[in-house]
């Protein structure tokens, strides 16, 4: 099967200046994706044609900016299949996950309660709850990972208990590319009256996510990992939960009435959007959603899986490397070149213009499980080609050969 069978990749790649202007195999998509010109144009449109503040202006430019900002929220709501009021704009996934822990967590968790998370989490999914557990003398419980370092329903059942109040797990792991069996976990958690928070930073860009069908209580993702601008993300929360939650930040744009000693807030989502919003980035995220939907998740998934299969296939034939997740569910592959520090390997990749990531991927506990200081991670998106895969394989071989010279 040719890449072009699935979609017109050459046409798509023309939208990405970075790909046109550099002879680059960009395989660091789990860190950030590149931005197509449509999204850049949407950001520029706001800055050039409007550039003003929103919500409170009674003049036309401000009205148009407000309209674009709120239409972006509507697009988020349609993407996730939630209500308009359930989509809160944040600075990013980390900001959203912290907001949930600081507001819902600090007010609902009590001494002795249990919070379930995993060693497969991104630090942003786990550390906010480590903080809550410390402050409230609650217990942080880690789902035991199986021999492949996956979260399984079976292992989840081992830690779920009547004391469980919160389950905070990734939907797709940024370090291993595994999909968590969230449907069953959510059902089981709800039977215990625990709420479930999904870190969907690696999911929303790649697969269709339907929060109503999932029935998750909260969900978070970032714009910059899905062709969107930096500095924007989304917190989805069930309306009744958002409605009763306390805001964390106070100030402009989130209040109803302010007295000298008391204050009342607006309703969600506004009560969580303190200060001048991240207007341009929200508008850009709206455009990114349109862009991705036009390509279609079906094709995106097909294409990514084809690249993954090809990559795993080719890498399996290279001796002297360790693939940590040969059964990855997505286009995220984590590996090491035996005997070579990932940062040393990374400089060879850089010389070959292959952009990958070397490091702990904000998942230090997992590195302990893997018994590595760091790994190399390659991650694909819809604009990647088989040529990119070939270049990565070539770079791996080159790095191996280069450092073997010194052995």
């Amino acid at each position: 099967m040719k890449v072009n069978d699935i979609m017109d990749i050459n046409k798509i790649r023309k939208d990405f200046y970075v790909l046109n202007n550099n002879d680059l195999a960009y395989l660091d998509n789990a860190a950030s994706t590149l931005k197509p010109k449509q999204v850049i144009d949407a950001v520029t449109y706001y800055y050039e044609k409007l550039g003003v503040n929103i919500h409170r202006g009674v003049y036309r430019l401000s009205y148009e900016a407000t309209d674009l900002y709120e239409k972006a929220r509507q697009k988020v709501a349609e993407l996730l299949n939630c209500q308009f009021e359930e989509a809160v704009f944040t600075r990013g996934a980390s900001n959203a996950l912290n907001l949930i822990a600081l507001s819902y967590g600090m007010n609902h968790i009590e001494e002795g309660d249990e919070i379930i998370t995993s060693e497969l989490e991104h630090h942003s999914s786990m550390l906010p709850w480590q903080n809550v557990a410390r402050a409230k003398k609650a217990k942080l419980v880690y789902v035991p990972l199986n021999e492949e370092n996956k979260i399984t329903v079976e292992n989840f059942k081992k830690v779920l208990s009547n004391k469980t109040k919160v389950v905070a797990l990734n939907y797709i792991s940024n370090a291993m590319g595994y999909m968590t069996p969230v449907e069953e976990i959510i059902k089981l958690a709800h039977e215990k009256n625990a709420i479930v928070i999904l870190d969907a930073a690696q999911a929303v860009p790649h697969i269709p996510v339907n929060v109503k069908a999932l029935d998750c209580d909260f969900l978070a993702f970032s714009g910059h990992k899905m062709c969107g601008p930096t500095g924007i993300g989304v917190l989805y929360g069930k309306y009744n939960l958002l409605k009763e939650m306390e805001p964390i930040e106070f100030g402009g744009d989130m209040i109803d009435y302010v007295g000298l000693n008391e204050v009342t807030y607006k309703d969600p989502p506004y009560k969580f959007e303190t200060g001048t919003p991240i207007i341009a980035s929200a508008i850009g995220l709206g455009r990114a959603i349109d862009y991705i939907k036009a390509i279609g998740f079906k094709d995106i998934m097909k294409h990514e899986r084809m690249l993954r299969d090809e990559l795993i296939d080719k890498m399996s034939q290279i001796k002297g490397i360790t693939i940590h997740n040969p059964n990855t569910d997505t286009g995220i592959i984590s590996f090491n070149i035996n005997g070579v520090h990932p940062h040393d390997a990374a400089s060879v990749f850089d010389e070959e213009n292959v952009a990958i990531r070397a490091g702990h991927h904000c998942a230090q506990p997992l590195m302990h499980c893997l018994n590595e200081i760091a790994t190399i991670r390659a991650s694909v998106y819809f604009y990647n080609t088989r040529e990119d895969i070939n270049r990565l394989v070539k770079a791996i071989n080159k790095a191996k050969a280069f450092f073997e010279n010194f052995m």
């Binding site: 919500h55 009674v58 003049y59 407000t66 308009f84």
Partner: protein
């Protein structure tokens, strides 16, 4: 006529200066809805009494600009005596009209027809509709037999 003259028609300013049906009743018979727009400070309560599926009394009270306050007065006159079905149609028609969308020009709207000019001032859409949104909410509270007193904030969408 300029856009502005079209927005601030004499009849609107008359209702602003001399509002009809202003002031609330202290009785449990009424369905009342309190809407606020924290962003611009509009604050409005409306009360309706429904008898035999007909709106027999309407009152309003609040503070805000001439558009929002006059609209409450105009609304109270327009829908007084209508049955709930008629009233709901008028609400929808009015909202379409001030949005600048197609609307039924034949439908009876009373003085509310003069709010057509709002469509040229999208920033004033909320001012023109707050009273009508409150009415809509009060009707559906009645239909759902739900709480008689409702507090809400409305926001830009």
């Amino acid at each position: 006529m300029s856009n502005l003259e079209n927005l601030y028609r004499q009849v609107i300013m008359d209702h602003y200066k001399n509002p009809r049906n202003k002031g609330l009743k202290d009785s449990e018979e009424y369905y009342s809805v309190h809407l606020k727009n924290p962003t611009c400070g509009d604050d409005l309560t409306i009360q309706i009494k429904v008898e035999d599926n007909k709106i027999t009394e309407v009152y309003h009270d609040g503070t805000g600009c001439s558009i929002s306050m006059s609209a409450a007065s105009v609304m109270s006159e327009t829908i007084m005596g209508m049955n709930l079905e008629e009233a709901k149609k008028v609400i929808n028609n009015y909202v379409e009209m001030v949005k600048g969308e197609e609307f039924d020009e034949e439908m009876f709207m009373g003085d509310a027809i003069v709010y057509q000019g709002v469509s040229q001032f999208p920033a004033r859409f909320k001012c023109a509709t707050i009273a009508w949104k409150a009415l809509d909410k009060a009707i559906s509270n009645h239909e759902n037999c739900s709480h008689r007193h409702d507090e809400e904030k409305i926001e830009v969408k």
